[in-house]
Symmetry: none
Subunit: 198 residues, 2 copies
């Protein structure tokens, strides 16, 4: 029973866990290049660690995002999507915290409010590639720390199945509208003829 030098395996397991956490879309073959062991070892490791194969991981993520209709944790920046009807409308909630405000004034930095609206607008578009082409935005009043921004987005038009979609977003704190924006989103399913877009 070997007692010393048993570390490499454990270390590799840690490394493996980290790599897969960093990029759940990595294949075993790609992992061999990173970990410098054979693909069989990778697979033995995954077994020992109970990590499912790539396709199963993707399936789980897809199912997770699919049936967890509510409480989809978008991101702390972007807010939490609480309702999403693709190509129609969506709602996200974002609480302004310490790290989002100017420390002097405790007023939220504009780009966080924008980011919430922008992310929601993009998330709404049911397309492979959805990028913001342009936006016209108004910050109607300051948002302060601790306030909850509720952004409601509506798809207003939809040039065919490809092209541009117009999405209007209203952000409220309570009854008060604090932000309003008109986004033009590119919904270019695999095409190359962008004028621009993010």
């Amino acid at each position: 029973m070997p007692l010393i030098e048993r570390l490499p395996k454990k270390q590799r397991h840690q490394h493996l866990l980290k790599l897969i956490e960093e990029n759940p879309f990595v294949t075993d073959r790609e992992l061999t290049r990173e970990l410098k062991v054979s693909i069989q070892t990778i697979r033995l490791d995954r077994m020992e660690l109970g990590i499912p194969e790539l396709r199963e991981r993707m399936k789980q993520m897809a199912e997770h995002s699919y049936d967890q209709v509510r409480s989809l944790p978008l991101d702390e920046v972007v807010g939490e999507v609480v309702d999403l009807q693709l190509d129609k409308s969506g709602i996200s909630i974002f609480e302004i915290r310490d790290e989002h405000v100017f420390s002097r004034t405790q007023i939220a930095r504009g780009h966080y409010v924008f980011a919430q609206a922008n992310s929601l607008a993009v998330a709404l578009i049911n397309d492979e590639i959805a990028l913001t082409a342009s936006a016209d935005i108004r910050f109607l009043r300051q948002v302060h720390m601790g306030e909850k921004c509720i952004a409601k987005a509506y798809v207003r038009s939809m040039n065919g199945h490809k092209g541009k979609a117009k999405v209007e977003v209203f952000t409220y704190v309570g009854e008060e509208m604090v932000f309003q924006g008109n986004f033009v989103i590119y919904r270019s399913t695999g095409e190359e003829n962008f004028e621009g877009g993010m």
Copy 2:
């Protein structure tokens, strides 16, 4: 050229679209049972309709939800200010990194590019409180991972010592302009009469 009774195909396409929308996890084989046609027909139909295979659909869903969960800080997204002449002009540099892009396309999320420009515009205003009131922005082309965005901002007008300032921001990657925005910034030293602002 058959002219009548061409409906069945179109109808089947509609049915197919509906079935896949209802359950994106359905396999072609399962669809044959529902639509009573051969698996080849299902596949021809998917091709014509541009519907990817099950695994690709799952992958896209997984990436979609992953992207949402993943986008990070935005805190210090602002970029690095390398030149600043208060109330006149400024330059900041921001490199697009892994955490700023959609993983599928490696294209930067719009709000990061916006955040750089917004932060610079606000930083330019030599005032106690400077908040974005509104903005009109254009994303001129996609920015990809690894590219360095150089934002140049110019103060265009300056209503008195208080009130609104107009700031124009151009963001370049190399020689190419990738973003352009007109910001209206509140510069209200003694606050009070906000209409809005961030």
